[in-house]
């Protein structure tokens, strides 16, 4: 029980505590950023779990690479190391076969043939044969390498159409030619299938995994200051918080960023991020990895691969469904077009549009047509244009009426002006040229009055004797007789005046 003690001399390590606290917070921020990239559901433990997978993957890959390099060196072909590595990398990308399988197969062929060029050719043949027959690449490579040295028994299972005796009697070059003739190009065909694409995806993820592991180990090496001792250093320092963790933040951030890019499908960018040099240095990691004592879980890596596969399958499914939907839409459109040929309403509308219609009517018809075609947006656009046209027509009408009113007003003004002129004339405020006319009228009125007086005088002293020959039966005949008499008098310059009152004559 460590609590039961008496502390005699103590010191406050506040500075160290602050540094430790800062390191913890910085580290927590880094882990949180990585866990955010993981979708919020993965915490530092899962990051470590993924790290374990990555480190193991890189370890295995590095070991295989070293073994192949050693083989090349032993055969005196060390100068071809880079060429071989590039060849294997290219084949990996082409066929989707992981370098974990390619390297051992190539190594078998290399040891049998002793030639890099020959081994490359036979490896391509082995890939085609493996793709066609379904046998594992390593098995095929082993059989071909044995056949190269004369042991052709293993080739019987590939049913090349050759008997055992024929195989035994043939040269390897002829056998290879036969295989290429039968199965040439199979690997490329398989690589283009759905399964091949999944394999290529696996290759991408595997390479990413190895790069992450490499980056992580390089980070630890940089922290420890000793190449290859990063892991053991990490174990010693796990219990202590040091300022080195602040430097690790950058590494973890890049590491977390790379994982995030991979999740978004940007594998190449993720690899670039991890391969960025740290602080200007690019240490080469060449040695074998020391034994890993700490255990890390591997579940995250498997979950990630499963997620990639599921997303790919889902995308394929979506594409198929989209295609189905497109086909359905096309059929629907064709059906609608066919239906339109027998739709009376649509026919009427079309016919109406062809006739002489006003702009407003045309727009209305177009809107109705769009409604019939169930094109709501188009109908609304026509309706909007119709409203605009109506509005314009109303404005024109209002303008016309205004003009009419103005015109009427103008005429009224003219009439009023004439009226004023007439009134002015009557009031005597006229021009001197009109004065003679007035006096002329007055003199005529005097003449008429004088004549009237003379007529009255005449009437008072005159009488008319009407002698009617014969008999007068009716009043009509009497009136006619009097008229005739007056007419004769007037013609003879005699003035006559007849007043008729109540059916009698007063003369």
């Amino acid at each position: 029980m460590a609590n039961v003690k008496i502390n005699i001399l103590t010191e406050f390590l506040g500075k160290g505590l602050k540094e430790a606290d800062k390191s913890v917070k910085s580290f927590e921020r880094s882990v949180k950023s990585v866990s955010y990239l993981f979708g919020g559901g993965y915490l530092g433990a899962k990051v470590l779990a993924f790290s374990k997978t990555a480190v193991k993957a890189f370890a295995a890959d590095d070991k295989a690479a070293q073994v192949l390099t050693r083989t090349l060196n032993n055969l005196g072909l060390g100068f071809s190391n880079l060429n071989v590595q590039k060849f294997i990398s290219d084949i990996e990308k082409e066929t989707g076969v992981l370098d974990d399988k390619l390297r051992p197969a190539f190594q078998k062929l290399l040891t049998a043939t002793g030639s890099v060029v020959e081994s490359q050719k036979i490896l391509r043949t082995a890939l085609d044969l493996s793709a066609a027959s379904g046998f594992d690449l390593n098995t095929v490579a082993a059989d071909l390498s044995k056949a190269y040295v004369g042991q052709t028994k293993g080739l019987a299972k590939y049913t090349l159409g050759l008997s055992a005796a024929e195989l035994k009697g043939m040269k390897f070059a002829d056998i290879q030619e036969k295989i290429n003739k039968l199965f040439g190009g199979q690997a490329a065909v398989v690589a283009d299938t759905y399964s091949g694409k999944i394999d290529k995806l696996n290759v991408l993820f595997a390479n990413f995994n190895e790069a992450v592991g490499k980056g992580l180990l390089e980070s630890l090496d940089n922290l420890s200051g000793q190449q290859g001792g990063g892991l053991s250093w990490m174990e010693r320092r796990l219990d202590a918080l040091s300022s080195s963790l602040n430097r690790a933040t950058d590494n973890f951030s890049r590491f977390g960023g790379a994982i995030g890019l991979a999740f978004r499908g940007e594998g190449a960018a993720a690899l670039d991020l991890l391969n960025q040099p740290q602080g200007g240095k690019k240490p080469a990691y060449t040695g074998a990895i020391p034994s890993i004592q700490s255990e890390l879980a591997i579940k995250v890596a498997e979950d990630y691969l499963k997620k990639l596969r599921d997303e790919y399958l889902a995308s394929l499914k979506i594409t198929k469904e989209k295609q189905k939907q497109l086909a359905l839409d096309k059929a629907k459109a064709s059906l609608a077009k066919a239906q339109a040929n027998f739709d009376i309403t649509k026919i009427n509308l079309a016919a109406a549009l062809k006739g002489k219609v006003t702009e407003e009517e045309r727009l209305r018809l177009l809107a109705l047509q769009a409604i019939e075609n169930e094109n709501g947006d188009l109908a609304l656009s026509w309706i909007a244009k119709l409203d605009a046209a109506r509005k314009k027509a109303a404005e024109d009408e209002a303008s016309r009426q205004e003009n009419l009113i103005a015109s009427i007003q103008a005429r009224m003004n003219v009439i009023m002006a004439l009226q004023d002129r007439v009134n002015a004339k009557i009031a005597g405020n006229t021009i001197s040229a009109q004065a003679a006319t007035v006096s002329d009228v007055q003199s005529r009125m005097d003449t008429i009055s004088a004549l009237q007086a003379r007529v009255d005088a005449k009437i008072a002293g005159n009488s008319v004797t009407v002698n009617v020959a014969g008999s007068v039966i009716s009043q009509q005949e009497l009136v006619g007789a009097v008229r005739d008499g007056l007419l004769n008098d007037s013609l003879s310059a005699k003035q006559a005046n007849v007043n008729r009152q109540l059916g009698s004559f007063i003369s």
């Binding site: 003690k5 502390n7 005699i8 010191e11 406050f12």
Partner: protein, 217 residues
């Protein structure tokens, strides 16, 4: 009780640069000074016969049980468990590190040292009342699970009969203080020492510091 020193770790580091005898000499001086306290403390540990027989009986301990049983008491082991340490401890969460300490590292001895200082009547039996928070459980650590409801009290009383609890906190200090400076063995010895050992330790450190400052061993 503990004395805060500034620069003591640096002093130790500086001492490492000098001949090793200097660092050894300091440690030796400190141990010598503290030997009086530890010697006194070892004398306060009772014999096995004075303890409850069930606690010292070897048939009821981790010799026979597959789990870590309740630690038994043995005087010899308890005496050997009282040690002086001059190694700097791991910094606590508050940032303090101890450079010199006296510890009671034996389990039985530590139980004898501290039993009853929290509750002289032992752990209470669990009782759920309307005031009991719902998170409290009957099988919680703070409750007596023995069939004998007075088991704790009887145990503490038996220990008190062999040695009393003494508070080693210095008088006159400001604040409420902690009960963790209370005990029957080392704390009692330290309290009865009266600070003489403390002063001597500081003097030993200052002595070596003066030597370093004079520039020689």
């Amino acid at each position: 009780m503990s004395v805060s020193l500034d620069g003591a770790p640096k002093l130790r580091l500086a001492m490492k640069k000098f001949p090793t005898e200097l660092d050894k000499e300091t440690k030796k001086n400190i141990r010598t000074v503290l030997a009086s306290v530890t010697g006194r403390a070892k004398g306060y540990l009772p014999s096995n016969a004075q303890m409850l027989s069930g606690w010292t009986n070897s048939t009821s301990s981790d010799d026979t049980a597959k789990y870590r049983a309740f630690p038994k008491y043995d005087q010899g082991k308890a005496i050997r468990g009282i040690k002086t340490s001059t190694k700097p401890s791991k910094p606590s969460r508050n940032g303090w590190t101890s450079l010199v300490s006296i510890a009671n590292s034996n389990a039985g001895g530590a139980i004898y040292e501290t039993a009853g200082r929290k509750n002289p009547n032992g752990q209470p039996a669990f009782q759920r009342t309307k005031f009991t928070p719902p998170t409290y459980r009957e099988d919680g650590k703070a409750y007596n699970k023995s069939l004998n409801p007075n088991a704790g009290k009887q145990f503490v009383d038996s220990l008190n009969a062999t040695g009393r609890l003494v508070n080693a906190r210095e008088q006159g200090l400001v604040g409420r203080g902690t009960r963790k400076l209370t005990g029957r063995v080392i704390f009692r010895a330290w309290a009865e020492d009266g600070g003489k050992a403390n002063a001597a330790v500081i003097k030993a450190v200052e002595k070596v510091s003066n030597k370093l400052n004079r520039g020689g061993a």
